[in-house]
């Protein structure tokens, strides 16, 4: 599997996973991922937003304008049924990837 796809797929999966816990806007997604990984994972905005728009185009997530915690208008994303299916497939393929790569890269 090409490295770029792996990377894309993993970012998609992380975003989708985040959204399974409820609708969030882009900034909140970054925050949530940071918190969950004790700031080990810093998602760049430069990758996040194009990924969101691409997944919205493909119908994996949908967006609605709502009001944020601070009373400002924000675009909230939520996961769709197609998105959940995509997440399952992506998680599975990631597991296969780790299975295949781990014995090579990790000392036993």
């Amino acid at each position: 599997m090409p490295a770029k796809d792996r990377l894309h797929g993993t970012l998609d999966a992380l975003i989708l996973k985040t959204l399974t816990f409820g609708p969030r806007h882009g900034y909140a997604i970054v925050q949530w991922l940071g918190q969950q990984t004790q700031d080990k994972l810093q998602v760049e905005e430069g990758s996040l937003y194009p990924a969101l728009y691409r997944m919205e185009r493909d119908g994996w997530i949908k967006a609605d304008w709502g009001t944020s915690e601070l009373g400002r208008k924000a675009k909230f994303y939520s996961i769709t049924e197609a998105g959940r299916r995509q997440l399952r497939a992506e998680a599975q393929s990631f597991a296969h990837f780790v299975d295949a790569v781990a014995p090579l890269l990790l000392p036993t």
């Binding site: 900034y27 937003y49 185009r57 601070l70």
Partner: protein
């Protein structure tokens, strides 16, 4: 209806800007909370974000794509919804749907059938490489078509405008000695460039070389794919085998591919065209056909100019030329045009006729939809009240039309399939490639296109009208009545249009049918009843001298005459209407030699030919057996030739005069004494005026003629009983011939009745197909008129009831209704008649002895439409008068 996404209509750029700005703002705030100033925080947030512009661009691109996908999905969803809704609506109005679908199926199906015939015969290119470059070269002399001699062909070989120039003698019969019986197949003698002119390579083996055109070269042959399959069971080893052709051994050197069998009538065997040095200088032996392949980029005009220049250079060398060289020219036509010939205009005429039928059926359905629109006022008003916009409602109604058209087109394909069968069945055998007509993807595409187009034609006007009135009339029940008048007028216009279209079509059909009728009553000039004809070809190998040839034919003729049930038998070179031809120039004795000599059809005939063919004598005597090779040369003329040579001279004074004809050179003369004059007969076709004809006795045929006509004559047999089907003589005749020479096959055995029918086939096809289309148009018009008048009656039953209750006499009501029905009919009648006079000019070339504005046809069609219109009005009008006044009172 599904609400759009709240931001759906906001431009994508604003959406992206707002979202990214929000993100920056949030990051800034977070940084400020950690103690930065607002400016520092802002700068840091932007730095972290990275290349804002490229992110923004990428998001916008995805956003635009998203919107497009959503729109499409939404549109498809609406369409699906509309289709489901339309189908449900149509299922509720079964009678309406059935009439509309059948009407459309007739229109669309008929159009598709004619299109597929036209496509197969005219439009589809020949299966050749660049077929447009294959052309026919036709020499003309002062504008009249002329034959082609060997030196003329040889001269054209070097014309630069052509890649290849081929000479050919087409339509020669070739006898193949098969295992049991000899078989005569269609053959051609062609020069070495012939296959190159078509850019077709043999499937097996090779074509001819220049060496094989030389006299004395080894005898070789190329066979067609059809013959290869039929006679050689597709044996690849056939190349190199020896065949007995016309009694001489020939080596098969090639097999042509299947694509080269363009039509049922193309040759099955090709032999090299051998031109002897002697023939190469004979300008008056014109027996060739010329084909060529244009060089790439050369137009027909350029080719014609170049070929004409060559032709004039050749004419310079003609030793005894009378006409100036500027009289010589060459016309260049595309091969396919030549092949399709008159059938092009015939099929386009049919397509035009069928287009009228389609328009009539569209008008009819438009009328039906209009009536239906009135009935659904409430439904539409409710939908409008629920928020459906005007364009949304129009789209809904158009979807309904589209569903109707799709169903109509589907059923129409069935109609097309059936009608195509009919067209193929009633068409003359000679229509090239018609047997290849099928309902294929081109026809499907065409049907689909006309289906959608007709849906637009018949659906748009009623949809706009219906929605327009409904939006104004809204839920007011009374609103319907007030708008009814405007709609009545539109319906009236539609009926008038329908009547006008039907009349135009019927007048066109009527004219062609009357032409056909006239044609069937032309006196052919001979009596075809109980006459059988069959062609014989004597092979060169065994029949070398004129004496051997004439003796053989005399024996065959005597055997034929002795057959039981036969009154008389004769032989001749050509029989009328058989499509064969040969010409000679004729000069009356004493006329100046260097004028343009009259041309006449040249026919060889034995004694008894005129009696056997049933051609009456005007004066003089028939040939006798004593008019043989040793006796003085005699000739018989037809009236047209007699008039041409000696205008105004009475027949009895012509006997004994002498004519000069059939001489090998212009400077020599062969004189023939006129012994008889016969009635004119139609030789080429029934519609052409009889041409001058010259008959000379078979036994006195100049020796040079025999090789030119392949020593071939036609045996003619007349039954004692004229009602005998002459087909019964085929077998006895074969035996009679076999008694003389068992290796001679009988070719083209056909009765004269069959030739006569054949020459009427095109007329018969016109009559049958146009009657059929005219009938369809008429029934559609009846349905249309009936629909409108009965709709009017239903609409007004309330009013009529009141009037009756108030004492109006039934005749007053009758007047009201009939005026309503007849008005549009009369308008349509007048418009239609005017239109017919204009369109029938287009038919002029296909009419025979009938003028384009033949009053009989115009009046007959007008009266027919008027009667039909009255009947279609009468039935609903009678219903109107039976309306009981109670209905009026209850209905209010």
């Amino acid at each position: 209806m599904k609400p759009r996404l709240p931001f759906g209509r906001a431009p994508v750029n604003e959406e992206v800007d707002a979202e990214l700005a929000f993100h920056l703002e949030m990051t800034t705030r977070e940084l400020m909370e950690r103690g930065m100033t607002r400016q520092q925080a802002r700068a840091e947030a932007e730095r972290r974000f990275g290349d804002m512009k490229s992110v923004n661009d990428e998001c916008r691109r995805y956003g635009v794509e998203r919107n497009r996908r959503e729109q499409r999905a939404e549109y498809l969803e609406e369409l699906r919804h509309d289709v489901v809704f339309a189908v449900r609506q149509l299922a509720k109005a079964r009678a309406f749907a059935a009439i509309a679908i059948v009407t459309l199926a007739l229109g669309i199906g008929a159009t598709a059938a004619v299109f597929s015939a036209l496509d197969a015969v005219v439009l589809r290119p020949l299966p050749l490489d660049d077929p447009g470059r294959v052309v026919n070269l036709q020499p003309t002399r002062r504008g009249d078509a002329a034959g082609i001699s060997a030196p003329e062909f040889l001269g054209q070989r070097d014309t630069r405008a052509f890649e290849h120039v081929a000479g050919a003698v087409l339509g020669t019969g070739v006898t193949i000695a098969m295992a049991d019986t000899p078989e005569l197949v269609e053959g051609a003698r062609v020069s070495s460039e012939y296959f190159d002119a078509f850019a077709v390579k043999p499937k097996l083996g090779r074509g001819f070389t220049r060496e094989e055109e030389q006299p004395g070269a080894p005898k070789v042959a190329v066979i067609s794919h059809g013959l290869w399959v039929r006679a050689f069971a597709s044996d690849r080893g056939v190349v190199g085998r020896t065949l007995q052709l016309d009694g001489a051994p020939h080596t098969v050197i090639g097999v042509m591919p299947a694509e080269f069998d363009f039509t049922r009538e193309t040759a099955e065997i090709w032999l090299p065209l051998v031109i002897t040095p002697e023939q190469a200088t004979k300008y008056n032996e014109k027996y060739l056909t010329m084909l060529a392949r244009l060089r790439p980029g050369v137009t027909l005009e350029q080719a014609a100019a170049a070929a004409t220049a060559t032709q004039r250079a050749v004419a310079e060398r003609i030793p005894d030329r009378v006409d100036p060289v500027t009289d010589y020219a060459i016309v260049v036509d595309r091969f396919i045009d030549q092949m399709v010939g008159d059938y092009r205009s015939l099929l386009f005429t049919l397509l035009g006729a069928v287009g009228f039928v389609l328009l009539i059926s569209c008008t009819n359905v438009a009328n039906l939809l209009l009536a239906r629109g009135t009935g659904r006022g409430k439904e539409l008003a409710i939908r409008a009240a629920l928020g459906a916009g005007r364009s949304r409602l129009v789209r809904q109604l158009l979807t309904e039309s589209l569903v109707l058209a799709t169903l109509g087109a589907t059923l129409g394909l069935g109609v097309a399939y059936g009608l195509l069968r009919v067209i193929v069945a009633v068409s003359p055998e000679s229509v090239p490639r018609l047997e290849q007509a099928h309902i294929d993807w081109r026809v499907l595409l065409f049907t689909l296109t006309i289906g959608v187009t007709s849906a637009a034609i018949f659906g748009l006007l009623p949809a706009l009208r219906t929605v327009g009135t409904q939006m104004q009339g809204a839920l007011r029940e009374g609103g319907r009545q007030s708008k009814a008048f405007a709609r009545d007028r539109l319906r009236g216009i539609l009926v008038a249009a329908e009547v006008a279209l039907a009349i135009t079509l019927l007048v066109g059909s009527g004219l062609l049918i009357r032409s056909a009728w006239r044609m069937q009553h032309v006196d052919p000039g001979f009596d075809p009843r109980g006459v059988l004809t069959a062609r014989l070809i004597l092979p060169e190998a065994r029949y070398t001298t004129p004496d051997a040839i004439t003796r053989t034919y005399a024996l065959i003729r005597d055997n034929a005459a002795a057959m039981s049930g036969v009154q008389s038998a004769a032989v001749a070179s050509i029989v009328p209407l058989s499509g064969s031809d040969a010409q000679s120039s004729v000069l009356a004795e004493g006329q100046p030699r260097d004028v343009k000599r009259p041309q006449a059809n040249l026919r060889l005939a034995s004694s008894g030919f005129f009696a056997t063919m049933g051609v009456p004598f005007v004066g003089g005597r028939d040939f006798a057996r004593t008019d043989d090779a040793n006796a003085p040369k005699v000739a018989i003329l037809n009236e047209t030739l007699a008039r041409k040579l000696w205008p105004g001279v009475p027949t009895r004074d012509l006997i004994g005069k002498r004519i000069d004809a059939l001489s090998g050179k212009r400077t020599e003369s062969i004189y023939w004494e006129v012994v008889g004059v016969v009635h004119d007969l139609h030789d080429a076709s029934l519609t052409q005026r009889p041409r001058p004809e010259l008959y000379v006795p078979v036994d006195q045929t100049p020796a040079t003629i025999w090789p030119l006509i392949q020593r071939s004559l036609v045996v003619v047999v007349r039954a004692t009983n004229p009602s005998t089907d002459a087909e019964v003589f085929v077998k006895p005749l074969r035996r009679a011939v076999a008694q003389v020479d068992a290796s001679l096959p009988l070719a083209d055995s056909r009765t004269m009745m069959s030739y006569l029918r054949g020459s009427l086939e095109t007329a018969r096809m016109n009559t049958l197909l146009l009657s059929l289309l005219g009938g369809i148009a008429l029934s559609l018009a009846i349905v249309g008129i009936y629909g409108v008048v009965s709709y009017f009656v239903t609409q007004r039953s309330h009013e009529i009831g009141v009037r009756l209750a108030l004492g109006a006499t039934p005749s007053r009501i009758w007047q009201l209704v009939v005026r309503r029905g007849l008005g549009p009919i009369v308008v349509g009648l007048l418009v239609g008649l005017a239109l017919s006079v204009a369109t029938s000019q287009l038919l002029a070339s296909q009419l025979f002895e009938v003028s384009g504005h033949d009053p009989v046809t115009l009046v007959a069609v007008g009266v027919l439409l008027l009667i039909v219109g009255l009947l279609a009005t009468y039935v609903p009008a009678r219903r109107a008068m039976r309306v009981p006044p109670v209905v009026a009172l209850n209905d209010g």
